[in-house]
Every structure is written in C-alpha cells, then in structure tokens.
Subunit: 320 residues, 2 copies
C-alpha cells in the first residue's frame, strides 16, 4: 500500500505529514517559512522537511512513493511551476517546485495551489466527503476557493480558477468609494469579507481597542457595537458571495473553511443567513457546512494528487 508525503507551503510556515492511501496522516510537522530569504531557501527548507518525514516513515517500515505539494501562489499543476505569487514569499514566482523537490529528495512530486489542495482535502475526507461536486470557500486572511468535480479541482486556463474573492461586492464600498483589494483592484468580496478587511472596517468605524481580527470577534461577542457591525458586514458580504456562487455552480455541498469559518456562531450564522437569502428555489436544501480537517486539509489534498501519481505510475508500469 502506497505512502506519500503531503506538504502545505505558506508565507509563514510549511507543514507536512505522512499520508496513507486511505487518507490517514501522521501528526503534522511544521517549520517556519524563510520567506524573506527567497525561493532557494524555501525550497531547501521544504526538501529538508520532506527528507525528515521520509526518514520517520522508514523507521516505522513504510516506504514513501511520492510527494504532493500545496503551495501559495498560482501554480501550474501540470508542470509544477509557480506561475505567479504575491511577495509573501520573496522571489517565489518562477520556482520550479516539483523539479527542485525531486532533485533534492529523489521522490516524484506534484504541486497545486494551496487553496485548491484545501478544497481537494475537504472533498476527499472532510465535510464534502461522498459528494459528487463540492464548492469549497476559504475565508481567512484572503478569500479563495475551489470547485471539485469528480475528485479534481478546476484549474482554469491559466491555473487561476477559484479566485472567488475578486468579484464585485455591494458591501465593499465606503461612502460610495470602492475599498482597495489585495489584487490591485477595488470593491471586491475580499476587500470587505477577509479577516484583515473586518479589522479595517472596525477601524474605519472608529474602533481603536482591537488590534487583530480575533479581538474584533471577541469584542463583538461581548456586545461592542462597532466590532459587531464590522463583523456582521464581513459575514454578510461572505454570505452574499457564497449564495451567489452556489447559484452559479449548483454544487452538491458547499464547504466553508478558513479562520473566519471557525471563529464562532456570530460570524457563521450571519454568513449562512445571508447566503440562504441569495439561493434560487431549487437550491433550498443545499448543505452549507464548516470545513472539518483544519490544517491537515491542504496536506491531505496535496497528498491525494501524489497518490494518484503513484497509481498512474503503477498503471504505466503494467502497460509498458
């Protein structure tokens, strides 16, 4: 039975685990991402983590057959290359992710965008398990998503599919002026519904107690009106987007993950109510579920693709 390694490469940390064919994982190992040191240093840290996990596996008698990588940035999943990325990892654009990992570990590897990996993980083993199609929405520092059809996450013509945060949102305006968005545009869902956007909204309203989104949530739960208003606005914007997306994709299930989805009922209930208000009649029974796998979702989703690699290789061996 094949064992693989799944890794999740983000701007602040790299997490990895050993994943078995049925999806069980070892407890994840985490190391800080040397983001400021550039691509070479990050790939080197990544390869060390993989080799470490591989030795752990071998100590318990398991052979590792492949590596699956979920990574920040737009990833060409057919070639394993970082097509573009923000500066959360310096010089990440252009990194030959799978080539470099294979060169340094000797293991075949495959790479995909981290949100896509997250979507694959939740649809394989999490809240979307067993559903034919899953729309995954991640609501946290950013707003992203992935549509999973027959076990594959929609990649798009330029591997950019799933950027659900960059759609015009009625609430992403301040006194008629569209709020700036991380993409360089303005007035998008992410500009009002992400965690940082909720903190900004709180500050625009004149709030000066909370220093981060968690604190805004805590204050809102304690009855602070400014915090409650900012949180509500973000949650409603998220719900409007999720409901509208459901009308477009008509998935069997919507899975909502990311920090905000796990923040508590104050956010979730406002989001779900706003989403259900948007739904067309045939979608009335649509399940909208919180993600279940937490930080192992992207690791397992990436690992799933590595497992497919081992299967297709075996199939190839049979045929050749």
């Amino acid at each position: 039975m094949p064992y693989v390694i799944g890794v999740d490469v983000g701007g602040t940390k790299i997490a990895g685990a050993i994943v078995a064919a049925q999806g069980t994982t070892s407890p994840p190992c985490t190391v800080p991402t040397p983001s400021r040191e550039g691509s070479e240093a990050v790939v080197s840290t990544l390869a060390s983590l993989i080799n470490q996990l591989r030795r752990d596996a071998e100590r318990t008698g398991h052979t590792i057959d492949a590596v699956g990588i979920g990574s920040a940035g737009v990833i060409d999943s057919s070639r394993g290359v970082v097509v573009s990325a923000t500066d959360s990892i310096r010089g990440w654009t252009g990194t030959q992710l799978t080539t470099e990992v294979t060169r340094r570990t000797g293991l075949q590897s495959t790479a995909i965008n981290d949100v896509h990996a997250h979507a694959l993980g939740e649809s394989w083993l999490g809240a979307g398990s067993g559903a034919d199609t899953v729309l995954f929405i991640g609501m946290g520092t950013g707003v992203g998503g992935g549509y999973v059809l027959q076990g594959q996450c929609l990649q798009g013509a330029t591997f950019t599919a799933g950027h659900v945060g960059h759609y015009a949102a009625p609430l992403a305006y301040d006194h008629g002026v569209p709020l700036p968005c991380s993409c360089g545009g303005a007035g998008h869902v992410e500009a009002i519904a992400s965690g940082p956007a909720i903190l900004s909204a709180y500050q625009r309203l004149g709030g000066d107690i909370a220093r981060d989104t968690r604190a805004v949530y805590r204050l809102a739960a304690q009855g602070d009106l400014l915090a409650a208003k900012a949180l509500d606005r973000g949650a409603i914007a998220a719900g409007q987007a999720i409901g509208g997306l459901a009308n477009i994709f008509d998935p069997h299930v919507v899975v909502v993950g990311g920090g905000l989805a796990g923040a508590g009922p104050l956010w979730w209930d406002a989001m779900e109510q706003a989403a259900r208000t948007e739904l067309l009649h045939p979608l009335a029974a649509l399940p909208i579920l919180p993600a279940r796998l937490g930080e192992t979702a992207a690791i397992r989703g990436a690992a799933r693709r590595a497992l497919e690699l081992t299967t297709s290789t075996e199939r190839h061996h049979v045929h050749s």
Copy 2:
C-alpha cells in the same frame, strides 16, 4: 452520416432545424409557442414541428436519427424532465419532455436547458470553437450562462448551474434599496443588467420617451443623457459580473451573447472595459468575444447532444 433535429423551446416561439454531424443546419423553422394553452399544447406543437422537419429531411434523402431539445426552465438533462420553470409557459414544470416527444415522433430524444444549449452551440461551432473551456454569458431579457468543459455544459446538482444573473451586484441598488429580481430575491446582477432592467433604470431616472430597451439604446446613441446613463449602468454591471466570473472560472474564452451583446458598441465597449478592470493579472489576455451563431446557437447545442446520443447508441449496438 447521422442527421438530427435540434429545437429551441422558448416562451414566445419554438425554433427548429435539421443539423448534420459537422453542425451545418437547414434554415430554422419557427412557430409561436402556445404558452397560455399549457404543457400539452406546447408539446403537441413541438412534435408537429419535429415531424415536419423530419419529412423535409426525408424528402432530400436524409434519415433523422434523434432529436435534441433546448428548453426554457430548469431541465433534468438525465431524464428529460422540466424540473421547474417560470410561468412563461403555463404548466411547464413537470413536463416529461423527452418521453412525450419520443412517444409522438418515434425518435429518441434528449433535452437540456436552453441557455446551456446556447453555451454548447457557441462552444462547438461559434465564438468558443476550439477552446478547451468556454464561459458563455447570455445578456438579454434575462441574465444566464453556462460553463462548457470538454464539450459538456456544467449541469449542477439540481440542474440549476449557470444562473450567473443571481449574484449580488453593487449597481443593483436604488438609493440604497436593492432592486427586485425575477427570482424573488433582490439586488442581483439581472435586476440591473438585463434588457428590462435597463428600461426600468431609464424610467426611474425620469425618462419617458423610450418604450422598450431598443429605444433606450437608440436614444443613448443619439446623446440622450438619461438613456445613456441607464444603458451605461447596465453595461458596467454586466462587465463587473463577467470579469468576476472570469476570475472564478478562468476559462479559455468568454463568449457573450443575447440581445444586449448584439446591440452595438455603446453597450459592448462599456461592458468590456468594466470586465477587464476586474480581471486578475494572469487573465489579462483573456478573449471576451461576442457570440456568433445568433438564433441557431441553442438549436445546434441541443443537436450536439442528440448527435452524441446517436454515437453512444451505435457504440452500444457494437458492444451488444
């Protein structure tokens, strides 16, 4: 070589044509839809048109192998049943479309939503021809769409996929109040960007010369400020939606059809500029093209599915 009949069933007319395997069609025949007389009368009119087209084909020595139907309403394309519909055709919900057509014509048949058929037609033989994935957006009396992947239009869990008009839109507000939408909701793209919505916006602005959307367009082209403002608002709302959808689907090409797409440069240019403003950087070169097939798009898209039926039947015969 197989010949099939493609039909497009709408609330005001039924159009049909003979379609050859490579997609060439006879000139379409059109009959009024007896919408007020109910489902039975509509199916009967539909069957007569099909039998007429079949006799035409036989007169020129061609045998018809199957019928492909594109129809208004949410269509269960696996069973050929109208799952739900507006009252544009009385009693249309529940109609066993393919069963009834086959019973009355003796021909095997397949049915799909008319906008999905439109998307299939344009991606097969129109502006999306040759592209791996096509996002089709229809902008007219309503706002709808279809995403075509590997020659198949995404159906969704309840056959409702592609309802791109029912997503919250920043411009679908009048003095802070969301505009009512045809779906029963409010504040959606369709409520500001459809043809009737443009006429309503013109009237809300105080315009009282134009009696239909065409007249609004004509007035706008002549420099009428109220008409220009209403048209611009609708075109920008359409463009914001189309750009946002492109960020989500990342298709190889976007095809825009429907009455507004063919209205002229005043609408198209404002729409395209608004759409391109929304696009993420990797999508900068995305082609946004006007539909090319006009009224034969849905006929040919429906016919395409009928041709697949004949192919799969042949394959079945070979195997059994």
